[in-house]
Amino acid sequence: MDWNLLLNSYASVMLNPQILIMLFVGAVGGVLFGAIPGLTATLGVALLIPFSFGLDLVPSIGLLLGIYCGAMYGGSISAILIHTPGTPAAAATILDGYPMGQKGEAGRALSIAMFSSFCGGVIGALVMTFLSPVVAAAALAFGPAELFMLAMFGLSVIIAISGKSITKGLMSAFFGLLLCTIGMDPACGYLRFVPKGVYGLYEGPPFIPTLIGLFALAEVFSTVEKMARGEMKDTQSNAKVTRALPTWADIKRTWKNIISGGLIGTFIGAIPGAGGDIGAFVSYGVSKGASKHPERFGTGIPEGVAATESANNGASGGAMIPLLSLGVPGDSVTAVLLGAFIMKGITPGPMMYVNELPTVYSVFAALMMANLAMLVVGVLGVRFFAKIISVNKRVLMPIILIMSLVGSYAINQNVFDIGVALAFGVIGYLMQKYEFPLSPILLALILGPMSEANFRRFMQIEKGNFMTIFTHPICVVFIVLSIGSLVFSVINQRKINKRTGTVIGDGKVEDLAEAFEEGKSDAE
């Protein structure tokens, strides 16, 4: 650890007005995206990536990290006020956040959520700062076989947590991997699956329009359908918010939950494919299990809110660990961040710590400052945010639509990309309708080219003998972990289906009222 360089990087971020403005703008955008049900941190980052094009690397990453951290907190606003998680990561916050609101303690719940989010994010940023160089050093031992299996492991984990059906998750992943073979073959330059004259697909489906289509347009189509049928109503909040920061008594009461949640969220976030939603529920379970009064969890206690919110923000730092040290995204947001890095000409991975160490330290500093920006935005804007979520969806969806289409166009200034977004919007809408998770496709589009390139390199080295992969110990570990994550997920999902029918991951949360009642009855 080069302390001088680290401190200089922190100073350069903290003293650069452009970076600070971008962090603040990102945090505002992130909190808004997180607070509005149906919008996610992934969508916010994807929509605002075009706006970062004209910026240098650190300000653009600062903007996107601001959104990330802001959205993780923002989801708690609607979870607490209107019993609807703004992001999947806020689903666990409903368990105690909403009851607190019901008891007239909405302001207290929001302030605890904000403070816990900030602390969890700082814990995640610190762990990322000190742990990722260690992981990076170990990662230099990775060859083509190991990198191929790492990509497969990343995909297996996100399949495992993406929905009710592993089979459908696997289908999504294979479909995504097949999609990423469209275009020029990376080794031989041969054009695959592209009709003559369709120049827009020569480099494969353009990533950001595909992402916008799958997540933004698909969500708009789905919302339009559900609202027309009366299955989704405009959600309104009339709660008054009076407190910006928690009291000292509340901080003393919840500090253990905050620290444990931050650490749990960070380490779970560091697993490729696992994100803030998993971390939040695990942290809630741990806090409840360790509590002297577990029966109070679910009735509206600060500890429940603190545990979940610190975990989901801790996961943001955790997800950056595999991104920076291995080049493998920790969740869907860091998958988009990976795209942002690549667009700036930087390839995250172990060599980044060798060739771009100042950039790495600047990212550490930016994440820390993003959490601070989130805190400032939260303190200043918590009363205003409560009003924004009452915007009529009939106005909001068209605005998201136009932003999506313009965002798709702006990447290459090519109208073809709007067509790509529309096509993937329809595909994503149909896939969501029939419960095929979308996150595996996203990760497949990111990891697919890397996995194919390394697979072909490995086969070239081993002269076509794939079975030699079992002679690489790290590969065997990844194979075991991949199979283990899928098997564990099947067993776990059966338990969840038995109890609640709740689905976590990929933006779909069902029967939360039932889960809430179950959590309440558990607490009683």
């Binding site: 094009f53 479909f175 097949l178 073979t181 041969y190 339009v224 068209p398 136009i402 029939y434």
Partner: protein, 160 residues
């Protein structure tokens, strides 16, 4: 009384679509050029993924035949009110995509916004006009002045 579709049927249809995509992909790869001295050519990875998709689709067929899922399938009929609305919105986006270069962002975008709100049963016409024009202009200025990214001017090209 018309029998409602069940999830099992829709799962089977999805599985057959998966098989069809996989088979089509493998068939297309048979026409790929063969490269000399390349142990893994451009056809190998797509074929592996296609085979994986086919096998998972077959697994979905088998699981659905063993465990009959009688939950109602999500509607996909054009007679369904929600589906019709969604198709109208998708159609609006398609028209936007086809005409954007020719007509231009400044003319098409307020129309897209206005008609999308109309389709979603919003009827406060004053606000609809204000929002349509306001959002269009705000985004245009942001891209043109702040990000220095040109949006298609189309018929209004003579103004810029």
């Amino acid at each position: 009384m018309k029998k409602k579709a069940i999830a099992q049927t829709s799962n089977l249809i999805c599985a057959f679509i998966g098989i069809a995509i996989g088979v089509a992909a493998i068939w297309i790869t048979t026409g790929f050029k063969q490269f000399v001295n390349v142990p893994v050519g451009p056809e190998v990875f797509p074929r592996i993924m296609a085979v994986g998709l086919i096998l998972c689709s077959i697994a979905l067929v088998v699981f659905n035949l063993i465990r009959k899922d009688t939950d109602p399938a999500p509607p996909l009929s054009i007679r369904d009110h929600g589906i019709r609305r969604m198709l109208i919105i998708a159609g609006i986006v398609l028209v936007y995509f086809l005409l954007l270069e020719t007509v231009g962002y400044l003319i098409l975008s307020p129309l897209l916004l206005f008609f999308s709100m109309f389709v979603m049963d919003y009827r406060n016409y004053k606000y609809m006009i204000i929002i349509s024009l306001g959002v269009t202009l705000a985004v245009f200025l942001l891209f043109w002045q702040v990000l220095v990214i040109e949006l298609p001017n189309g018929l209004l090209d003579f103004l810029f």
